[in-house]
Symmetry: C2
Subunit: 423 residues, 2 copies
């Protein structure tokens, strides 16, 4: 907290307390917890719901999409989403609706069977690097199977590579979670230099894998549209062709509950994935693949569709930033991200105050993701990071919620300085 | 081979050889390998392809089926398919399109986490009982994860219970594959007495599970429509409430590639399943659940739909039986099932001749499932069992194929008697 005169502090606190009391009386009911698309975003895929329509079920290779088979996915779907992800169609697998499920399956198969170049992980000390703040479901997946979570700091270029390079010298470190573009929740996009170092670094475990969750590759919030990165090319170039397991989905492109999820990787990784998947299923839901390819059509179609999302989302992110700027700008009490894509804004506040902010917000009827959720084991030792998810509520609700949250951050900081709510 | 005069044998062989030569010259191209629905069967679900249509996406509890969540499945889907399976809706989970995938997940979770009442199976000697003939993908799933397969004979009431009861006294036996209704591939439906003994038998493994694949519960080939059995009730009554993991799907009701798959079990088993599944996915494709419930509507709707399947399928089964009866009836060279439901006819022929029949059929352009496929490890020590899958080809194709197969069975038996093709 910067030095302020006691009088100024008391005046700030008096205003904040009064505002809090007024908002609490307003009986808000706002939810900023999860990165869900809004109904208006889902409406963008309205035309997909009647596809493929009657009898229009033959794929471009003449297969009947209604029947069994086609484990890797339809060629037209692999071509379309391969282009989106910057991956050749033969190195892409199209699955059911959940990329988390694809990650889960890779982890259980790695545990029970081992990945190419390695053997079963069961009974070994296995650890994953977890850039922090990160995605709670990544962490829970590892934790559920007894995989140790090792936090790694993030900077503006991605995970802090000095830390990463030091930690992968431990042979127990078999994997690392990465959300390379518009990272969840910081919005950071890994720099080229960071990607190159991840691709090239020397790891003690010969079967080390980047769990490369490209969840937000085309989810831009500005008119900038960076080309897809090429982690497969970078790893191959560095002599580590099998290092990356790539994951993605259309959950936040078409429909959150009824999209398509993707696996991609080197030839050896794809062959391994299909071998395991072939015991699990006779084939994916190819009708849903037809729905997607006929609705989105081509890469331009995807970009047009994502631009429509952007027009709905950018005002919500702006509303959050405006509320934070208005109350907290220049006070030095918190800093927050200004993401150019993705689904979240991350706020870093006075240490030891994040839980208190969540509690204060609850008092206003504003639900926030629990403090600590973005850290391994749900524990943020600094208790200073919150993830805001502004996509689902309306712009007016987001603005109201963000003003309330900014107020709570302010109040918690004043409390920490001894002049808060109870003062 | 029954005693025939050498002259009679030679006459039979001459006719069979001549017919074989004629058929071989006809250049057939017929596939009787896999239990796939035909295009005409898939057409029965034509009306489902345009559902849920535009904006009609709200579930009966007011949820937006397009968004994330709803791990257990929509209440309306659980009510409809619970009624179909004879399971209360709260004990049913609706998943993606593949019941094999649900079985796979139960196996990997059993291996890594253990099932209720047990601990992780990893590193232990684990074996599954496999009624034979059975379903090759069941066996391959276990084999892929190093689970030992122990064959058990089948009789007209299901698995031979004396064998089963003896084998489950081994604590390594943790599970047993069961297809209780219209079993794959024999068509046998387990008798009440067999089901009761499976429910009540004493197992050495406290965490023993029946992997109860109710794949064909409503797939009748006659107008008889036996009520769903109640394995949950039987196991509970016998004091083994958690014994059965129930699996099913609509792959052969609506669409083979785009149906719904189900898990059902006791309260403890469902809680366990949801706990594991909750780490794997945020929720299933609920739009596909809406499609199914709005298309099939109610249990009567399912039965009407299955009656339409029956009208397409029964003539194909009849064509196979007629061809077998015509050539082989009364010769004592083979016996075959006359299933009242399901997807297969099983033929048991002269020992040591099944592989030869497959080879002879290939010579006629008729593809058959490899001999041995219905046994664990793909090895039938008697080399005497073949599974015929007559659902996919047209009635005329099925008839032609069945006549060819009957001929090959006849020829192989004559060869075994020293008067075959090469004689």
């Amino acid at each position: 907290m910067p030095a302020l005169s006691p009088e100024a502090l008391v005046a700030q606190a008096a205003e904040a307390r009064a505002t809090y009391a007024r908002l609490a009386a307003a009986g808000l009911k706002l939810d900023m917890t999860r990165g869900k698309p809004s109904p208006a975003q889902l409406d963008l895929a309205e035309g997909m719901l009647a596809l493929p329509g009657n009898r229009d079920v033959v794929t471009e290779t003449g297969e009947d999409a209604r029947n069994y088979g086609g484990l890797q996915g339809l060629p037209e779907a692999r071509r379309l989403f391969g282009a989106m992800l910057g991956v050749p169609p033969d190195l892409l697998v199209v699955n059911e609706n959940s990329s988390l499920a694809v990650m889960h399956d890779c982890i259980v198969w790695a545990l029970l069977k081992g990945v190419p170049g390695g053997s079963s992980w069961v009974g070994k000390d296995v650890a994953f690097l977890c850039p922090v703040p990160g995605y709670d479901r990544h962490f829970a997946l590892c934790e559920g199977f007894g995989i140790r979570l090792i936090p790694v700091a993030m900077d503006d270029e991605g995970p802090v590579m000095e830390e990463v390079e030091r930690l992968v010298a431990d042979p127990a470190v078999r994997g690392m979670w990465c959300v390379p573009t518009y990272s969840n929740p910081t919005g950071v996009t890994y720099s080229d230099a960071t990607m190159r170092r991840l691709a090239a670094m020397k790891t003690a475990a010969p079967d080390f894998r980047l769990f490369w969750d490209n969840a937000y590759g085309v989810h831009h919030l500005t008119e900038n549209r960076p080309a897809p990165h090429d982690i497969l090319g970078l790893t191959a170039e560095a002599g580590n062709p099998d290092r990356a397991f790539i994951f993605a989905s259309t959950s936040k492109i078409t429909l959150a509950g009824a999209g398509l999820a993707f696996f991609a990787g080197s030839k050896a990784n794809v062959a391994w994935y299909l071998e395991q998947a072939g015991r699990r299923t006779i084939g994916p839901d190819k009708l849903n693949q037809l729905r997607h390819t006929r609705f989105l059509r081509d890469l331009d179609g995807i970009h047009r569709h994502m631009a429509a999302h952007r027009r709905l989302l950018a005002p919500k992110f702006d509303a959050v930033l405006e509320a934070l700027d208005t109350r907290l700008g220049g006070l030095g009490l918190a800093r927050w991200t200004r993401p150019e894509g993705g689904y979240f804004i991350t706020v870093e506040m006075v240490q030891g105050s994040a839980k208190r902010v969540v509690e204060l917000a609850r008092g206003l009827g504003i639900a926030l993701t629990p403090a600590g959720a973005t850290s391994p084991y749900g524990k943020d030792p600094t208790d200073s990071v919150l993830r805001l998810a502004p996509t689902y509520p309306t712009v007016d609700e987001v603005r109201a919620a963000a003003e309330g949250i900014a107020l709570c951050i302010h109040l918690a900081a004043l409390e920490a300085a001894g002049v808060g709510l109870a003062a």
